[in-house]
């Protein structure tokens, strides 16, 4: 019998052992093969990337396994092209033609098309997550998601509109609601995943950033109105002074942006801590140790990495993003392996083509 059963433990059960140099080799080969095959290889390349990242991730000293294949991703992408990209192209082409002759009908059509696109984006997010979980195994036990994503798409549309109407004020509410909705559908084998992220613990930090952004926006607009010549009026004074005025305006906008960013970093770090900290998998709990400083360092290094390699550094982004989280996550609690039964959820048969079409997968 297995000695891991029902043994209480507060130690961190999660370990990530990936190495950037190993990943770079994989990513470089992927890049070359993708170029040589006019892009077709990228489905296999993505599979290879995930296989590496998953195998380097250990839960209770045992590596995760990625069971997705390149072929199913290719099939998913072809389906997404036929069922999504092509119809969308036709619809937007027709709307373009109608703009000339039937502007009202074209406007009404767009009123249907745009919400439908947001809904589809939600469906794509859900299904991409479902595909990833269903292709993740530990000791032969699969993950999965209980729904098909259509209901989540509806919720995504509703909440996104709410966020939009409130000028972003409701962002913490919307973000945590969506995370909870997504993760509460997830399962690891027979174990239910539950998420109970609470927006109230985040609203304070967010409002700080939001308020600063609002004030900054008013300052920038006010400054612009005060210093720039009115439209229609011929510009007066010498051109150098005008240039200086515009430069000043850019400088102010930059300073405002940096201040808002600093406040928002603190919110974004708190958001990650809340999202991960509220996650339970059976009797296991996760938490993540991310500070605003971590996030700042992470993105600064990313920028340096891409700029100073003339863009080649982009191929390291999947690793950078995955390892940023995987190195900071902790999993504690107990797992009764005998009680962890195989998943009874049906696994999707194709890859995450829709998410691919929306270009939303980070790794």
């Amino acid at each position: 019998m297995d000695a891991t059963s029902a043994e209480p433990r507060q130690a961190d059960l999660w370990r990530f052992e990936g190495r950037g140099s190993d990943f770079f080799g994989i990513a470089l080969v992927n890049l070359l093969l993708t170029m040589v095959t006019l892009g077709i290889y990228r489905f296999w390349g993505k599979t290879r990337v995930r296989q590496y990242l998953w195998t380097q991730s250990h839960f209770a000293d045992e590596p995760l396994e990625y069971t997705g294949t390149g072929l199913e991703k290719l099939i998913g992408a072809v389906l997404a092209l036929l069922l999504f990209s092509l119809p969308l192209f036709v619809v937007s082409f027709i709307t373009g033609l109608m703009m000339q002759t039937l502007p009202v009908a074209a406007f009404l059509l767009l009123l249907v098309v745009y919400p439908a696109l947001i809904w589809l984006l939600g469906v794509a997010l859900y299904r991409s997550r479902r595909y990833m979980f269903s292709r993740t195994a530990w000791r032969g036990v699969r993950g999965g998601m209980a729904g098909n994503g259509f209901a989540y798409g509806g919720r995504f549309l509703k909440l996104t509109l709410f966020q939009f109407i409130t000028l972003g004020f409701a962002t913490p509410f919307v973000t945590t609601r969506l995370w909870n909705a997504l993760m509460n559908d997830a399962k690891f084998g027979s174990l239910a995943v539950t998420a109970s992220a609470d927006w109230r613990r985040l609203q304070g930090r967010f409002l700080l950033g939001w308020g600063v952004a609002l004030v900054g926006y008013i300052v920038v607009i006010g400054w612009a109105v005060a210093t720039l010549p009115r439209p229609g009026q011929p510009p007066t004074g010498d051109p150098m002074a005008q240039l200086a005025t515009i430069g000043q305006l850019y400088l102010i906008a930059l300073v405002v942006g940096i201040v808002v960013g600093a406040f928002m970093l603190s919110y974004l770090a708190a958001l990650q801590r809340e999202l991960w900290g509220s996650l339970r998998i059976g009797a296991l709990r996760t938490e993540i140790d991310i500070t605003a400083r971590d996030l700042l360092g992470f993105w600064l290094v990313n920028i340096v990495l891409v700029v100073f390699t003339l863009g080649l550094g982009v191929i390291m982004m999947p690793y950078r993003i995955f390892s940023f989280y995987a190195r900071r996550v902790r999993v504690t609690g107990t797992l009764d392996v005998a009680a962890l039964q195989q998943s009874d959820l049906a696994a999707p048969r194709q890859g995450d083509g829709l998410a691919d079409a929306f270009d939303i997968a980070a790794f």
């Binding site: 000695a3 000293d61 192209f89 000339q100 530990w138 000791r139 392996v337 005998a338 079409a357």
Partner: protein, 361 residues
């Protein structure tokens, strides 16, 4: 943590392995022994034979080599890396010969069709171009013309231009609609747009020293219309945006791309221009003069219309083209327009000219 580990094969060809049977997350220690064409697994809860033909080699981890079963997707057996029976197993996901053949054939077909489109693409596009119905192209053209600026309304001037067009392209000769518009803009240019829309900018008429030059430019643009070159541009863009997964119809009609006709198309339109001019009894030499002047002009003004620049930018004016027009010019040509007609054409925009145009015109 004390998970059971694998042990190297013992003397009797028997070794310990770790089994995840796919029912739950427990790890079972089993002894593994090769038994003919099968593998015998024995443990606390397991005593079974698995045909070697069902087994595949999966990934290698520090714990050992993971074996998969083709008939049970969640079943995993982790054996010592050196196990002799594991060496000959096919890799997980490795393809059978017929699958490999299919993949090779598919790739070859794909490469061949890409190469074929590159090679025979223009011929294919030329065949398709005349088939696009005007109902599709007309709204695009109208939209583009409307976005270029105010049209000149001088009735006598437009009538004069109409006379030129009728002479160059007699009624019924060009299938589909044909609309001429003079745009009140200082750009020195003319363009053929989708839906038989031909636009001439006031700058070009101002720049022309004789009606023959305007007639030459018009003949060239009518050549583009007659040979459906604009539709070819549309098809190329459509194909491109489908291939790149683009789905934004607003970006669909890119004026700059649309007007960048291929060299072959330009040559073809030149031929059409010469044919039409000589049929009308008009000289093509003035068009050569116009080309030469454009070529010598150093500056290229921005037009203020996205995707559109001066004539020299959209019609590469090389010496060979001018020479061709000169050589083909008919002797004893008849005048293109009488003095009154020419005067009317030159003042076609005067009716609605409001503010003085930018300096230099």
């Amino acid at each position: 943590m004390p998970t059971p580990s694998t042990s190297p094969p013992s003397d009797a060809g028997r070794s310990d392995a770790r089994l995840h049977d796919g029912r739950d997350a427990r790890a079972h220690v089993v002894s593994v022994e090769r038994d003919g064409a099968a593998l015998r697994l024995r443990g606390d809860e397991h005593d079974e034979q698995v045909a070697l033909a069902l087994l595949r080699r999966g990934q290698m981890t520090p714990a050992g080599l993971t074996l998969h079963r083709t008939d049970a997707r969640d079943w995993r057996l982790i054996v010592a890396p050196g196990s002799d029976f594991a060496r000959d197993l096919p890799r997980l996901g490795s393809w059978r010969p017929w699958q490999r053949g299919l993949a090779v054939a598919g790739t070859a077909l794909g490469v061949a069709s890409v190469a074929g489109i590159g090679w025979a693409g223009d011929a294919l596009v030329s065949r398709l171009a005349p088939l696009i119905p005007p109902a599709v192209t007309a709204p695009i053209g109208k939209q583009l013309v409307a976005g270029m600026g105010p049209a000149c309304t001088g009735a006598a001037g437009r009538a004069a231009l109409g006379r030129l067009a009728t002479r160059l392209a007699p009624a019924g000769e060009i299938t589909g609609p044909l609309t001429l518009t003079i745009i009140d803009s200082p750009i020195v240019n003319a363009a053929a747009l989708p839906g038989g829309e031909v636009v001439i900018f006031r700058g070009l008429i101002d720049e022309a020293t004789s009606p023959g030059e305007v007639a030459g430019v018009l003949a060239h643009e009518l050549g583009h219309v007659a040979r459906a070159h604009v539709n070819k541009g549309l098809i190329r863009q459509l194909g491109l945006s489908v291939l790149t997964g683009g789905s934004d119809a607003a970006a669909f009609v890119n004026l700059a791309l649309l007007l960048r006709a291929t060299r072959a198309d330009e040559t073809e339109a030149d031929g059409e221009a010469i044919r039409r001019l000589s049929r009308a009894g008009w000289a093509s030499a003035p068009l050569a003069d116009f080309f030469d002047r454009q070529r010598r002009k150093p500056e290229r003004r921005g037009s203020g219309i996205a995707g559109l620049d001066d004539y020299a930018a959209t019609h590469p004016p090389d010496a060979a083209r001018a020479a061709r027009f000169r050589a083909a010019s008919v002797a004893g040509a008849v005048p293109v327009l009488d003095a009154a007609g020419w005067q009317a054409l030159r003042t076609v925009c005067a009716v609605q000219k409001k503010a003085p145009p930018a300096a230099g015109v």
